[in-house]
Symmetry: C2
């Protein structure tokens, strides 16, 4: 017997997105910063929506919200759909909520159709994603106790924030999870880039979350009087740094691929109009799905910097500050996402995630899959971020389709 | 009858330099900052040396120290030799004292040989040169009353500093001088660059004090996520700023001449490793003896910046912050300096002064001449600044020879 295929309720999903968007809205953007009053208010709303979706709700000791629906086979580990609802300062309405509310909508759809999966099914809203994947790192075990005293954007320490959200910082170990109780992890998220939009694709199948190498770069020259030092006698650290910035761009763009390289910070010292800069401090960030490629790019940049320094007797030093390995997604789940998109007649495209996500932490304990929906103009972490309603609805249906494939 | 030509006493000059160098000496360099206790102590020592040199000493209402020797023709205006003894924070022993003590040594030489000039002769030690030519601007009339409330490096306001040095801030107009009482102004100074050293010349004849054009430069692009924004979709303000820094260097060095161009400050915003800079603030400074050339260089740089901005959809804005016109020295005095050097058998070379000096203020009321002596390695405003004893002695003798030529 052919049954009608399950589809999510797009109107309900968008109404819920709209309701959550009002929480923490300010003239400068959405301020639902982790551990703020608005964060707590948003979580209350999300829990109401979870309850309406028929989920059993608990808050773990790490202050993550977990909504669970039993499966027909209680011996199986859970399929987890996760995301977050906290925002960056002056953020937008889509980064986090699209995935969170789509997960709840999937649960609601199963609930109203009386469809029970074989596996237990969970929707998890991780706390403080934007501050540094705190909720998911507490689940994966990657969190370190000394981080409890870090001060978050809310002004509260992580410890205070966990207490504020009804977790228990003294029993954080109880939030750890393992392969034994998570069979797979899915996350839907807005792309935060413009690759899908440019490719005119509705669905992005995330190949993995890129690795990040970050270096502090110091250029040493000689500070000197800008009026009395002829051009030929200068050891201008800023001139060398400028050539370095240009070289990073040239080396990174010289070969095709999704890798990116950024000099995000740069400052010249002493920083007076009439003094030739004797020192520049900058940072270099390289991202790619292939860690060896990051290393190769870095080595090319460092070699070129040495050459640049020789030109005007300046010297470069690089100090590695971040070395996050890339996290590939599960190939089997990727093909399920593709199949779910194809069934819905949607154009899709594979791409890396250039940003970090809770999925990278869950990948430590389970196979993960990530679905992207387009971000208009690639705008992210801004009140101007936007994803089209039809794309969000499509993404949620692909999420549902992938879940059902994983379950069968 | 052939008389022995007058020569200064090099040993006495160097001993005086050594004595003054002890005043304000700290482990980090000389700290004889204007209006400090060390400044006042240095001034006391200088006044003792002036008295020993037979000068009549007064402190004007601007707190400049004036030592005067009468001439044979009381109807003539004075020939003035000036410099300063205040230092920058953590400065050295030569910038200021070489000229000040050479002036006193010239007076001492005249005194001990019983040589009386036709013109009255003065040695003036201007107060707070390093803070912004305050003493000489009070004499030339360029000082503005609102500057009295500026806070100097000593922590005292200019008003408090003038009182501290026994001037009278309520009677500053009395310090003004005019062409009627200054016939010419001479200043000996360390070069603060390495042009003389590289040219192997003992004496620099200053062609003029360069003009300075300074602009605040803002580059506007679009801040965006460094992980999710492909290289081809970036409006990276720092990449454009780097090309600007390189272009300034290329345009300034493309033609021969003494002009210089410096980007002394540059900072990228928001300045995070994972955010593409959306804005850069920098400053551009151009110096040359020819103001029209400064303008032409600026126009070339602004045009090239527009082209650079077009490359990656960023925009440049320039706002002029300083426009100091060049101050030429007097051609007649320049040739007297050359003749004095030649008589002593010294190699000399003409060059602009890239730094500002009290002479540029005195040029408003009298013809001026400036003599440079070499700075080892071109090091300036540093405890490592150094000028060789033989060069200082040569400079002081050229100063004396020029004075006598001016007088005759």
């Amino acid at each position: 017997m052919q049954t009608q295929p399950l589809r999510i309720d797009g109107v309900r999903l968008l109404r819920n997105l709209f309701d959550l968007a009002r929480v923490g809205k300010t003239p400068d953007g959405t301020n639902r910063i982790a551990y703020s009053d608005a964060d707590r208010e948003g979580r209350s709303l999300a829990m109401e929506l979870m309850a309406a979706a028929g989920l059993d709700i608990r808050v773990d000791t790490a202050a993550n919200i977990i909504g669970r629906r039993v499966g027909t086979d209680p011996t199986l580990p859970a399929i987890v759909i996760g995301s977050h609802i906290d925002s960056v300062p002056n953020g937008g309405d889509y980064d986090g909520p699209v995935g969170s509310l789509s997960g709840i909508e999937v649960a609601h759809t199963l609930h109203e159709h009386g469809y029970t999966t074989r596996h237990p099914f969970e929707v998890v809203l991780f706390q403080n994603e934007e501050g540094g994947l705190f909720g998911s790192r507490l689940v994966s075990g990657a969190f370190e106790d000394r981080e409890l005293d870090l001060v978050s954007n809310s002004g509260k320490t992580i410890r205070e924030g966990i207490t504020f959200l009804h977790g228990d910082p003294d029993r954080l170990d109880e939030a750890w999870r393992t392969r034994a109780d998570v069979s797979a992890y899915l996350e839907l998220h807005v792309e935060q880039g413009a690759v899908l939009e440019q490719a005119n694709a509705s669905i992005g199948i995330v190949e993995g979350i890129v690795g990040i190498g970050c270096w502090k770069v110091v250029v040493d020259g000689a500070a000197n009087h800008a009026g009395t030092t002829p051009m030929t006698q200068r050891r201008d650290a800023l001139l060398a740094a400028a050539r370095f910035v240009e070289a990073v761009n040239r080396i990174v763009t010289a070969e095709p691929g999704h890798h990116v390289g950024t000099v995000g910070c740069l400052e010249a010292f002493p920083g007076a109009p009439n003094v030739i800069p004797g020192r520049v401090e900058a940072c270099l960030e390289l991202r790619d799905l292939d860690w060896q490629h990051i290393v190769a790019l870095y080595e090319r940049i460092a070699r070129e910097s040495g050459r640049i320094g020789n030109e005007n007797q300046t010297s470069f030093t690089f100090k590695k500050t971040v070395a996050n390995q890339p996290v590939p997604t599960d190939p089997r789940i990727r093909s399920m996402i593709a199949a779910a998109a194809q069934e819905l007649g949607l154009t899709h495209r594979s791409l890396p995630s250039g940003a970090g996500h809770d999925a990278q932490e869950m990948a430590r304990i389970a196979p993960v899959g990530m679905i992207f929906v387009p971000s208009a103009g690639g705008i992210s972490h801004s009140p101007r971020e936007f994803s089209r309603p039809e794309d969000i609805e499509r993404g949620a249906n692909v999420l549902l389709g992938t879940l059902l494939r994983l379950d069968s």
